[in-house]
Amino acid sequence: MKRSLALLSLTALALTACQPAGGGTIKIGYIGPLTGDAASYGVDTLNGVKMKIEEINAAGGINGRQIEIVAEDGKCTGSEAASAAQKLVNVDKVIAIVGGQCSGETLAAAPIAEEGKVVIVSPVSSSPDVTKAGDYVFRDYPSDALKTKAMAKYFAEEKITKVAMISENTDFASAFRASLKENLPADAVVFDEVVEPGTKDFRTLMTRLKNVKFDTFFPNAQSDATMAAMMQQFRDQGMKQPAISHDIADSVTLAKLAPEAVEGMWVINVPTSGQGTSFETDFTAKYGAAQATIAFAAHAYDAAGVIAEALKAGATDGTAIKDWLYNMKEYKGVVGAFSFDRNGDVVGVPYGLKQFQKGVIRQVKGISVD
């Protein structure tokens, strides 16, 4: 027992007492869910960052210096992301961080980055809370507050007046539900149920829903698996109304999990940036097909891109990068031309109406939000 304890002590202390030495490279951190339910977002965004950095390094780096990525698993939770941020900011001494991906990760990492004066650019976090997360926090993915406005606008244009919604009780889905209800007329949501995270059995709710008059079904889930179960059981009950959803439905995995149920389903999200372009070709050649959506990889690629631009422009520390990003007129990336507002929120990324057509998600038209 004592020997085991001694061995464990030595291992723990040795591992913790170590830190990677920097050398002549510029270090950029990454925080995202590399394990757990949200790992598919993490893998796509990490690969997006890696792709951008490899391209920069192959072209000679920045002012002759190569860039090194230090990736940490945030597990889509605040405490893990905070630990990861502590290591990146205080041990690895990264100059900037791409991440977190889940909003909880970004919110927990933000104060640590703020204290260490390290810029965070999140490629996927969409919670409205991120807007006020701090001066050093940016994102090139729009807030849900804006996306629900786009959705409400679409409902008004299509004369959809009665919406049935089932929401998973998670941070993303709850924020989306609250924000959508704010943007719709008071009596628009005629069926509004909330289920525990990870629920897969919706048969009772679907039976009740069958007796409600509604124009469209809004499955508001946090993961592919839950979204697939909602759609499958919705169609199993014989309901023919159209279904529409958000980011989570914008996933090729959904077409594999419930192909018949999601056929014809509508999605309102940022455009599937990179789809069908050389970016997707190059990405697929290097890392295989995106696990969630190529758009996540594209947003991460551009998040690394804006940081690199700031460095090329001569920014040498977090404060200089922050100032450069606030003053950036326009960055032309894979997701389009964008800049940041005074809160660090992205400006210029539009929305698109998409549809599952024969197992593939295709953009039908763009939706602008004033």
Binding site: M1, S4, L5, L8, S9, T11, A12, L13, A14, L15, T16, A17, C18, Q19, P20, A21, Y30, P33, L34, T35, A39, G42, V43, L46, K50, A71, E72, D73, C76, T77, G78, S79, A82, S83, A84, Q86, K87, V89, N90, V91, K93, G104, L107, A108, A110, P111, E115, G116, S127, D129, K132, A133, N169, T170, D171, S174, A175, A178, E196, P197
Partner: protein, 293 residues
């Protein structure tokens, strides 16, 4: 590519110290209840949940840390007394099941009373106490609290209460014959655990500036349980060593030079295997052995 290593910067040490200092008191409290008392109390995360929300909802409403702390302590005490009451009305396995049910009920309230708790969104931008806003001062504050708790538990181990709790675990009827009150000992044990949970949760959300329900899912309890077992159930020094080493190990595994593609999964698998090994070594100490003459 091989890497060279040197000593980490101070702020990361402060982080490690803070993480351990925040976790340790509750670990010691649970070691006392579950490890020493063999009380199958599976609801401490429920107490943590109400203590944390009590603290920070009050803080947000009043702006007073003192009132927030008082509210958290009161909530923790109220639900600790509920668990204590259940413990002397139910058999050990019955308490185990009931405590999980109570935890789930408390968690469901927190998650679904969105107008009060913001539900799954959690409470962002939690401020720190004004005199401990920096990493170093917060580490000092939590370490101070942790040292006081540790000294208290080392003292508690030598008290009559600890002997009573041990005696009740070994043979309730024998203990009763010696005049030991199960109700009194259990109330004291649950209250002590509740106070450590209130203390931990007063610091936890402040440190991360975020109170999020995902930190109170059931796996958080599994970690508490595993560390208690790894440190040898009922042993205060064992719980201290296990908490320190496993916390260091968990953070230390981040430094293994794996490629980023396998870093996350491999780290979790390694930690799981090491934890399993530690628990396996202590498997015989889980429940008291029958004394023979």
């Amino acid at each position: 590519m091989p890497r060279f290593y040197n000593l980490p910067e101070m702020p990361f040490f402060f982080h490690l110290i803070t993480v351990i200092a925040i976790a340790l008191p509750a670990q010691l409290g649970y070691t006392f209840v579950f490890g020493r008392g063999k009380i199958l109390h599976f609801g401490p995360i429920g107490v943590s949940t109400v203590a944390a929300y009590g603290t920070f909802l009050t803080l947000n409403a009043t702006g007073s840390f003192l009132l927030g702390l008082c509210a958290g302590v009161l909530m923790a005490l109220a639900f600790s007394l509920l668990f204590a009451w259940l413990s002397f009305r139910l058999d050990s396995d019955g308490l185990g099941i009931m405590s999980i049910a109570v935890y789930l009920a408390l968690f469901a309230v927190v998650l679904n009373w969105t107008s009060l708790t913001r539900g799954a969104l959690g409470l962002p931008r939690i401020p720190r106490v004004p005199f401990a806003d920096s990493a170093m001062s917060f580490a000092l504050l939590t370490t101070g609290a942790c040292v006081l708790w540790t000294l208290f538990f080392l003292w508690l181990d030598r008290t009559k209460l600890a002997r009573q709790v041990s005696a009740l675990a070994e043979g309730e009827w024998h203990a009763k014959a010696l005049g030991i009150s199960r109700a009194g000992a259990h109330i004291a044990a649950f209250v002590i655990l509740g106070l450590t949970l209130a203390s931990d949760n007063f610091f936890y959300a402040q440190y991360y500036h975020l109170l999020h329900p995902s930190d109170y899912y059931f796996p958080a309890f599994v970690s508490l349980l595993m560390i208690t077992v790894a440190g040898k159930p009922g042993s205060t020094p064992g719980a201290i060593i296990a908490t320190i080493l496993l916390s260091l190990l968990k953070e230390g595994l981040r430094f293994l030079p794996f490629p980023s593609a396998v870093l996350g999964p491999l780290r979790l698998m390694l930690f799981g295997i090491i934890l399993l090994a530690a628990v396996w070594i202590q498997r015989d100490t889980l429940f008291p052995k029958k004394r023979t003459i």
